[in-house]
Symmetry: C2
Subunit: 137 residues, 2 copies
């Protein structure tokens, strides 16, 4: 089965394209969190952030930064939400960076960032150690 | 008033640090979306993604990528949510990239990505044009 973003990149599926160069493309999400919600994606098919070659990360996030600036300026937004779902909650398995315009009182506060708590400092240190170990593995 | 992340970077406030080098630091969020939720931040105080110098973006997201990998491996997660709140919903005005471990049926699906709709193709094209214009301004 073909990838819907690869089809857009190949020009075989329509999209409201906001940016395109040799290696990246950005287009509007059809089911936006808010109007003007852009997806920025490398043209090469990589599934998640961890699959992108290191030397493509700078160019990718340089595009994301420009698009975040343009979304704010072009749509009179006060900020942006920039995010990637890697594997879980990822609807299309072709890495895409969401750039969503944000405004005060736009209704996303509260339910957007449900939070939990650590049982205490011991649990925090234990969890931090697991991540440090994995980093140096 | 001093910045709480600058205080952590200076070693004047405690944190469960998972990574540190000359230019970046990563530590556990004290109110995690899920246990193991890491914040990755440049040591230089930049407020949002659009304020980070272009040549720091590659190094920053190289660290984010390594940490996403370590969060998955170290905490047995199936994926990650990687996100920045720029200005709106940003609790600390010092850019930080959230890396949140994700697992199937972890409860974030559904309410996490509330979606809306465009009235039609005309509205999409109009919005895309505004962003394109801002990009080339």
């Amino acid at each position: 089965m073909s990838c819907v973003f690869c089809e857009i990149i190949a020009g075989r599926l329509p999209a409201a394209i906001v940016f395109e160069d040799e290696d990246f493309i950005a287009f509007l999400d059809k089911s936006p969190v808010f109007v003007g919600h852009v997806l920025v994606t490398p043209k090469v098919h990589h599934e998640t952030l961890t699959d992108v070659p290191v030397d493509a990360l700078g160019p990718l996030f340089t595009r994301v930064q420009s698009i975040a600036r343009a979304v704010e300026a072009g749509l009179d937004a006060q900020g942006t939400f920039v995010a990637m779902n890697n594997r879980i909650s990822q609807s299309v398995p072709h890495l895409h960076v969401h750039v969503v315009p944000r405004r005060k009182k736009d209704g996303l506060r509260g339910f957007f960032w449900p939070r939990t708590k650590y049982s205490g400092d011991d649990q925090m240190q234990e969890v931090a150690a697991k991540i440090r170990d994995a980093l140096s593995a």
